[in-house]
């Protein structure tokens, strides 16, 4: 039994992802020529995408990481999102590119954008690998989009379910049996 057995369908192959990430890297390189943006990524899901994207972008850049608490079963009734790891450096007057693995409801990013804007960056743009618009609650203007995907529960290439499957090299749809058959009805 391997991780692959828990995947019912490969939505995006390793080759498709690699090709699109290379295109995104070229776009960023062209749009930010002569500048030195800072790529801000949110742990943990974005790390694989970030690692490949920076190597596909041939301009001087820096990287910073943040970690935010997630809503979940252990959230206090009065709980609010907390910054578990803040930016290491200042983004004041810097060109910021937020690198996200997936945007669905947009709630996390909506919070993050407010936080970043309060720190006086010169500009903020968003680069996401996967856009799942069917789930959107907070409207987000995405500047660089890898793929628009259907409303399926996906794992791999950094995305997890219960901290597993991040190391799959592709984006796959998780079998409903893995999470007790609770997949949304089609």
């Amino acid at each position: 039994m391997t991780l692959h057995d828990d995947v019912s369908e490969i939505l995006l192959t390793e080759e498709e992802i690699r090709a699109r990430v290379a295109e995104l890297g070229k776009e960023l390189g062209a749009d930010y020529a002569g500048r030195s943006p800072v790529l801000v990524s949110v742990l943990k899901g974005s790390i694989v995408f970030l690692a490949d994207l920076v190597r596909a972008t041939e301009i001087p850049l820096s990287v910073d990481l943040m970690e935010l608490s997630s809503y979940g079963a252990n959230t206090e009734s009065s709980g609010q999102v907390r910054i578990l790891k803040d930016l290491s450096g200042s983004i004041k007057d810097r060109d910021v590119i937020v690198v996200e693995d997936i945007i669905d409801t947009g709630l996390t990013l909506n919070y993050l954008l407010r936080y970043l804007h309060d720190r006086g960056p010169a500009s903020v743009r968003i680069c996401c690998l996967l856009d799942k618009p069917a789930r959107r609650l907070a409207e987000i203007d995405i500047d660089y989009r890898g793929f628009t995907i259907p409303d399926r529960f996906v794992v791999g290439y950094g995305l997890d379910y219960d901290e597993r499957y991040r190391n799959l090299p592709y984006i796959g749809v998780l079998r409903p049996s893995v999470y007790g058959g609770a997949e949304p009805e089609s």
Binding site: Y71, G72, A73, G79, Y111, R136, L137, D151, Y179
Partner: protein, 156 residues
Amino acid sequence: MAEPLTDATRPRFAHASEAELARILDFYQVTWRYEPDVFPIGWNTRGAVTECFAPDFYLPEVDLYVELTTLKQSLVRKKNRKLRCMRLLYPEVRIKLLYARDFKALMLKYGRLDFMDQVFSGNSHNGAQNGSQDGPRPGSQDTPRNGPARLAEPAA
């Protein structure tokens, strides 16, 4: 930025799924209002309002109404019809309908499968209303918005 409501100031939600969505919005500091507006969608020949639609949530920062429907299929059809009426009469109003499958996906995303089971086992009503939302509920603001809502005024 949204301030979380205290137990004393939280509205009485008609369904546990609504309370859960409110918690999620609070968590991500998204301002919300519970059933702040009632939209007339049906009138009789005398111009009196016969049918209304009161979306569950309004998110003022993103100007979006959200309607949760974790109900049985017959009620979903009814709600779909109301939503079609809404979109015809109030095309400028942005409204998102979250079906049961959408809510389940949210719970899956947030690792709240236990809550999902509770909601769909039929023990989730708070007892305030039957959840069909045919019209204004006690406590909700029943002032129609501008625009077509004014048609609800009986002809002089």
